[in-house]
């Protein structure tokens, strides 16, 4: 455990819950979520903002959590994939991914879903082109993207994809 003297306190809201912890100053939001809060849904894919596997929403905008320091999030609201579904019900985006076969190994899935969530918040009825652009920062090696795009299209056409 890092010494208290080497850490700085940060207070933020994660998935609707207030959180107050001490962190090393240069700990990334990704490390904070995964190691400190044990929310391991957010994945390490590259640590450099090149793959999108660590995507979360920060104050409503999708970001690579590996490129954000935890301390930069003081007073902010963070939403991770674990914050999407309530109780037994999958969020409509999650359900669409499942039903459309958009998940194979699943490693890119949380990041894809968060980028999708952010897109549909801003643009509830995106065209396929807009979907591709919104997900251009999320790499997938398994699916070839077709079913991911189909899943997002299905939620978009169905309306009410968020909230």
């Amino acid at each position: 455990m890092p010494h208290v003297a080497d850490t700085v306190e940060v207070a933020l809201v994660v998935n609707g819950e207030p959180v107050r912890r001490r962190v090393p100053p240069l700990a990334t939001l990704m490390d904070f979520l995964r190691d400190e809060l044990e929310l391991t849904g957010t994945k390490y894919g590259c640590g450099e903002g090149e793959c999108g596997a660590c995507s979360v929403l920060l104050d409503g905008k999708v970001v690579n959590s590996c490129l954000v320091l935890a301390l930069e999030c003081e007073g902010s609201k963070v939403l991770t994939v674990e914050g999407l579904n309530t109780g037994d019900e999958l969020h409509p985006i999650q359900k669409a991914f499942v039903d459309h076969g958009a998940i194979q190994c699943g490693f890119c899935t949380p990041g894809m879903i968060m980028a999708t969530y952010a897109l549909l918040q801003a643009n509830p009825s995106p065209t396929e082109h807009e979907i591709r652009r919104a997900l251009e920062g999320n790499l997938c090696r398994c699916t070839g993207y077709r079913k991911i795009i189909d899943a997002v299209l299905s939620v978009a056409r169905g309306g009410a994809a968020h909230g």
Binding site: Y44, E50, C51, Q94, R141
Partner: protein
């Protein structure tokens, strides 16, 4: 083994009242936990008192290790162990038995492991690694096969003084006769690059010893049982003392078919510290240390008679084996089968040299030598078509095998949908119409053209390629089988313990479908356990597109026996004949009328608690009716074979060399579709990997070092690269497969690159023989071709009666019908970005 291995059961279609799951779109069983972020991969797992391992890699391609000073690392607070080769027993492993967990005397490639630490946190482990001081004596770098074969070249492996650890030779027929029969002959050399698997989840492992010295590994392996045995030898434990648990993995694609040094290293760290140790690669380490697809240089010469009958193929392959040997050195065994057996060809000779160097090395990767071979072969088949003045489709159909043929290499093509795939893909792509339309433009190949000047710099082309691959495993090990243990509980819940592994490809869902269908139970009743060697019976592993075939057959037979038990018990209880009963949707029905007679659960409880006191538990081990290759590489190594054809349509910007894939039309002979959702996913994913292989991916090396070890400069396809897709599945109902199914896992990647390259030829008149077709490579070749051509000479159409011709068709600038200003990218900017 019990039942005959030669005639696996195939269920005839159920009575019409029983709805079938086979061929349906069934969501993947583990998708919900992955969609919610609850699936725990190795990097998400923490055990109590767990330490974090990290490796010091050599970072230089060839050097003698003179001294390793670990004192400063050991002194760092929080460091619990520091090991070097001196601290462990070095047991060589790998196909060439030339790799050890840690390197002792010298390093022979940049990714060689020199030391490792285990520490309280990943940060402390990283700091400790920085504090290890190694003194090297650099040695001359063998940066290429040419370097390795030169006079006086440094010897990489002292046991292999000529730097050539493997040579393979194969032939069937009589090459000289084939050459003599040929009216056209072409010869070309193809260069296939290193590409990385780029699994989104990086490699990692947890090693955990219990109080009795029994080792549990949380491993990403695709071959748990072979892995257990091989690793046992390397770490000095009896294999029965090792348990392999397989958490979900972030991609496999063949990268996890071998033992990688980081795995025994983690075991040694756990041994030394008596604590669990987790060792996970960073992305940079993943690029550096994980072996790639096998790069190859393929010189291919082939011929045909003037009516288009293939006569011979003469193949010489040279493989850069890198500094140590992994499965890459065996990929020619599969490449061979493409050259010998994709299309009918009576005379074939192949020679392969596998040569050491100080480059990084290669392991298995989806297709296992076939993508490389098919690029060469299908590019050359296209070239033969040009020389013959034949439609590339007609030439392929002419030489396509029919069901029941045996190839020159002894492979028995029971079902063979090659012709149907060719015709289906061509029809769905509009092959004839599009080729005519394109040939109506001036300056296309095989058209009569003259002009150089173009009004537009964008041209279009269409091309095709087929694939031939194993469809039910490849018997390269003593057994190619898979075991199943199945139980049905008192309420109709089914547990299927299968030796096969799930690597994201959806095998567990297909197995559940097959079992649910057989037992007439809803799929939600089926639990598949496939990830613990203490529980599951043996399977050779996930490779060679075998899993749904083998595990499906085994599960089908185990479920069949359970079904017989249930039906017999029901017959007794209901006083009916077994043949009158059928299982469907959790109930026993009258087969003729569909009337519900009793619930399955009640029958099972009756068996359990009634006079018989029996549970419904069955087992099966399925060994396929294939044969291992003999010492001449001959043999029917798979019970069935996969075929397919892809048609690619491209747009090429001649001024910038940019290739855009507009559409891929694919037709695959899969025997029978089990899970429509899953099989489409395999094809779509394989196509994306194929596009990357063709256009953008290359792990670049120079003097043994890797130049682009990150996603910034190693270019994977993104959502914006995905073309239109048109998929068809040809069902040839192979009697060997479960419900007639054949394997599909690798096939979709295999023909993509040659289909695209052939389309680029159609568009530009230029043959590319080296991948990837980056804009710079395409641009440079287009520029050369423009400089070489004479401006106003009409192109003479290839005379079919000419003596064998050399192939390089002069490139031609394309003139299109008048168009507007060159195509613009959305966003207002003028050109491709």
């Amino acid at each position: 083994m019990g039942e005959s291995a030669v005639q696996p059961d195939v269920r005839s279609p159920s009575p019409t009242q029983v709805p079938t799951l086979i061929g349906q779109r069934i969501p993947k069983l583990d998708a919900p936990e992955k969609a919610t972020g609850l699936a725990r991969y190795v990097e998400d797992m923490k055990l109590p008192r767990m330490l974090y391992g990290k490796i010091l890699f050599a970072g230089r391609p060839h050097a003698r290790i003179q001294n390793i000073d670990t004192a400063a690392a050991k002194a760092l607070p929080g460091v619990r162990a520091v090991i070097t080769a001196a601290d462990i027993k070095l047991v060589p492993f790998g196909f060439g038995r030339d790799n050890t967990a840690l390197k002792k005397d010298k390093v022979t490639c940049v990714r060689d492991e020199v030391a490792a630490v285990a520490a309280d946190t990943p940060q402390i482990a990283a700091e400790a690694i920085k504090r290890i001081r190694v003194t090297y004596q650099d040695l001359p770098v063998v940066a290429s096969v040419a370097d390795a074969l030169a006079d006086g070249a440094p010897v990489i492996n002292p046991n292999v003084p000529d730097n050539t650890p493997f040579r393979y030779d194969y032939s069937h027929g009589d090459l000289e006769r084939g050459i003599g029969q040929s009216d056209v002959i072409v010869e070309e050399t193809y260069t296939l690059q290193r590409v990385a698997h780029c699994c989104l989840g990086t490699s990692g492992i947890i090693a955990d010893f219990d109080a009795t010295g029994r080792l549990t590994l949380y491993s990403l392996t695709q071959v748990p049982f072979l892995y257990k045995n091989d690793l046992a030898r390397v770490v000095g434990l009896p294999p029965e003392n090792i348990r392999v648990i397989q958490p979900p993995i972030g991609g496999g694609f063949g990268s996890k078919l071998d033992i990688h040094p980081f795995e025994p290293i983690c075991v040694f760290l756990a041994q030394k510290t008596s604590r669990p140790v987790r060792l996970v690669f960073s992305r940079q380490e993943e690029f550096l240390a994980m072996p790639t697809r096998q790069p190859m240089v393929i010189r291919l010469k082939s011929g045909a008679t003037k009516d288009g009958t293939f006569t011979f193929r003469d193949v010489h392959m040279t493989l850069d084996n890198g500094g140590h040997t992994s499965w890459g050195a065996t990929t020619p065994w599969i490449s061979m089968r493409t050259f010998s057996s994709l299309y009918r060809v009576p005379h074939v000779r192949q020679h392969v040299d596998v040569v050491y160097s100080n480059n990084i090395y290669a392991c298995a990767f989806r297709g296992y030598g076939n993508p490389q071979a098919t690029f060469a072969l299908e590019s050359q088949v296209d070239q033969l078509a040009t020389e013959l003045g034949m439609d590339p489709l007609e030439l392929r159909i002419k030489n396509a095998q029919e069901p029941g043929e045996t190839t020159g290499q002894g492979m028995i093509l029971g079902t063979c949908g090659l012709r149907e795939c060719l015709e289906t893909a061509a029809r769905n792509a509009g092959w004839q119409q599009k080729r005519s339309a394109l040939s109506g433009q001036p300056s296309a190949p095989n058209r009569q053209s003259s002009t150089v000047n173009r009004q537009s710099s964008v041209v279009h082309g269409i091309g095709m390629a087929s694939l031939f691959h194993v469809g039910g495993g490849a018997k390269i090990y003593r057994s190619d089988g898979c075991g199943t243990i199945l139980k049905v509980d008192d309420f109709g819940g089914v547990t299927v313990l299968t030796g096969s592994s799930e690597i994201g490809q959806g095998s567990e869902t297909a197995i559940a479908q097959i079992v649910a269908q057989e037992l007439g139970l809803p799929i939600k009743n089926i639990r598949v356990i496939n990830n613990d060697t203490d529980l599951t019976p043996w399977d050779v592993g996930v490779h060679a597109s075998r899993t749904v075939f083998m595990a499906g057959n085994s599960a089908l037979r185990a479920a069949g026996e359970a079904k017989r038990k249930i039906i017999n018990a029901a017959a007794v209880r209901l006083k009916r004949k077994p043949a009158e009963l059928v299982l469907s949707e959790g109930n026993v029905l009258d087969r003729a009328t569909g009337q519900r007679l009793e619930s399955i659960g009640k029958i099972i409880r009756g068996l359990h608690f009634g006079a018989r006191n029996e549970l419904v538990m069955t087992t099966d081990f399925y060994e396929p009716p294939s044969t291992a290759p003999d010492d001449k590489h001959m043999g029917n190594i798979s019970p069935c074979y996969a075929f397919g054809t892809h048609v690619a349509e491209v747009e090429v910007d001649l001024d910038l060399g940019v290739i855009k894939v507009l559409r891929i039309t694919a037709a695959h002979d899969v025997g029978r579709v089990i899970n429509r959702l899953g099989i489409e996913g395999q094809v779509e994913g394989g196509i994306a990997q194929g596009i990357g292989y063709c256009l953008t991916e290359e792990l670049k090396t120079e003097a043994g070092r890797i130049l682009n070890p990150s996603f910034t400069d190693y270019k994977l396809c993104t959502t914006t690269d995905l073309p239109e897709l048109n998929l068809s599945f040809v069902e040839t109902h192979d009697p060997a497969g479960p419900h007639g199914a054949k394997g599909i896992g690798e096939a979709p990647l295999i023909p993509v690159a040659p289909a695209i390259a052939n389309a680029v030829y159609n568009a530009t008149g230029i043959r590319f023989t080296e991948l990837p077709l980056t804009p710079e490579r395409v641009f440079t070749k287009l520029k050369e071709a423009r400089a070489n051509q004479e401006p106003s000479r009409a192109r003479k159409e290839a005379d079919k009666n000419d003596a064998p011709t050399r192939t390089q068709v002069p490139s031609r600038a394309r003139k299109e019908a008048d168009r507007d200003a060159p195509g613009t990218q959305q966003g207002g900017a003028a050109t491709h970005g």
